[in-house]
Assembly symmetry: C2
Homo-oligomer: 317 residues x 2
């Protein structure tokens, strides 16, 4: 009886692996360092050993495993199961699915971090019970994923939901991608920190001057304390994030929009500002119908998402 | 043997109805005036009579009909089969699906103009053979539809793909919807005409002054003749349309984007400008992979789309 799945959260510093039942209940879990500098094969072996370990720890036979889900930074080709390239992992055009499939004889699924987080939220987090869910993650960068009609939407080249690179400020700041005015360039943690540093480099009076280094944390903190420069930076950033989310409402008419990532953890000011922009810019019926909520999964989101990927992809099978 | 479907294109001035085989070959067709002023029941009866007529003209039995598709202006509720309200038709919260279903004993499907046009293009037009298709119609307004993973994507409240109301110019012109800077307010035929009229009301020198009335047609014509004011209006409008389409590429990573509607018929300048913006603003792999093409269906697009709706919704049934 196939009563279990395995989820692997592959990161630049650690690999977290969990055995779960078909309800997403984690039975056992292991975390090991990635040691990416050792190269492709040692890291691959560490993934295989981790999967073996949780299966053994759970006293489960290989035949009991319905599938394995792997979440990894991208870009990757989910259909082929190949990691194309990623800065913090050794894999280059490396098919990660085949060796695991060969070793364990079960279906193996690979998807990028943002899609895996979206699936996790859809199945076990803030999107539970909804049919159409759009997930934004706002931290160093801005990314996302969407579950539409109960399926992950990946697009023609596996790059759908590059929502961080939606243009929201046609004459705005330049983005790392080369484009101008992407929401990643206006509203990511990095962008907010950069605006703070620019303020320091100018002659304006701001309470940021008391810090040696300024990240988005200090900008949000000083905004909350009433510093007008920081209030302006935060309002501008969140207004553009609101536009990106309002555009997603107009496009997807989703049941739920989930915001995760470091910036979302700042709390009410983020959700209140975004909600105001959505109410102002969207059709009333759609604005009223869409829920805009923080991510529901905690620190285990990566591995729970990988479990959810395996469950979603093997559903009805 | 269910070898036929019927498509009904319900418009404010006429009702076009076609009997088609399962390959979308139209066997016979009839067009009658809507006479909307006569009210709900007479118009409903005219729809029923039109369906009866094409079935009779095609010498087909009711049992041979697999389904009926109806395209109508919205807003409507596709799931319930109800037209909520539309300015040029008598129906108010009127269920159009039930009486036809009762009369003909076959599944009946209702969808809005833009979705029906998208389905038509997906099955028989410029999107034929593609899996993920996004359709923009740019004329008086800007609307659209999307076929994702081979299915119409409708969203939670049946309002998905309100792409005309994507914000592309946060400080731009006010839209009829109340929002500021929607692509409908920057790039529709109405918006282009309005910019032309604004130029006339100002003191600038423009060759538009020779016309008694200025629509988008005259603005495009004088731009092609070299009038700098019109060139600027056209470039600005198409640049914002390009941003909306680039955002759709970042979001959907589609195989094909189809542009239909009056503005698309202006030709190369529209497609060249949009392509330039997409190449500038999108990730290289996605920009290179996406085809941006004019709509492939002609004057019969409405009824062919309605046929396609019936075919798509009864597929594998």
């Amino acid at each position: 009886m196939q009563k279990y799945v395995v989820g692997v959260d592959l990161g630049g510093t650690k690999i977290s692996t969990a055995l779960s039942d078909l309800n997403g209940e984690v039975i056992c879990q292991t975390t090991v360092p990635t040691n990416a500098q050792e190269g492709e094969i040692p890291v691959l072996n560490r993934i295989i050993e981790s999967v073996e370990k949780v299966i053994k720890d759970g006293s489960v036979a290989y035949e009991d495993i319905k599938g394995i889900g792997i979440g990894s930074p991208g870009p990757l080709d989910a259909e082929k199961g190949t990691i194309i390239y990623t800065p913090n992992l050794p894999f280059k055009n490396f098919n990660l699915v085949e060796p695991l499939n060969k070793k364990f004889g079960v279906p193996v699924f690979l998807d990028n971090d943002a899609n895996v987080a979206a699936i996790g939220e859809y199945m076990f987090g803030a999107g539970k019970g909804a049919k159409d869910v759009v997930f934004f993650t706002v931290s160093t960068g801005v990314g996302g994923g969407a579950i539409l009609n109960g399926k992950v939407y990946r697009g023609h080249t596996s790059n759908a939901l590059e929502i961080g690179h939606m243009t929201v400020a046609p004459d705005g700041p330049r983005c790392n991608c080369g484009n101008i005015g992407c929401v990643e360039a206006t509203s990511s943690g990095t962008a907010i920190a950069k605006r703070g540093q620019e303020a320091l480099n100018s002659k304006v009076e701001t309470s940021l001057r008391k810090y040696e280094t300024v990240t988005s944390y200090e900008v949000f903190k000083e905004a909350a304390e009433g510093d007008p420069v920081c209030i302006d930076i935060v309002n501008t950033a969140l207004n553009y994030l609101g536009i990106a989310i309002a555009n997603s409402v107009a496009i997807f008419d989703p049941e739920v929009i989930i915001i995760g990532g470091g910036v979302s953890k700042v709390g009410d000011i983020v959700f209140d500002t975004v909600r105001k922009v959505v109410d102002k810019r969207c059709f009333k019926s759609m604005a009223e119908s869409v829920k805009i909520v923080p991510a529901g999964l905690g620190t285990d989101a990566g591995v729970v998402g990988a479990v959810a990927l395996a469950l979603l992809e093997t559903e009805d099978k």
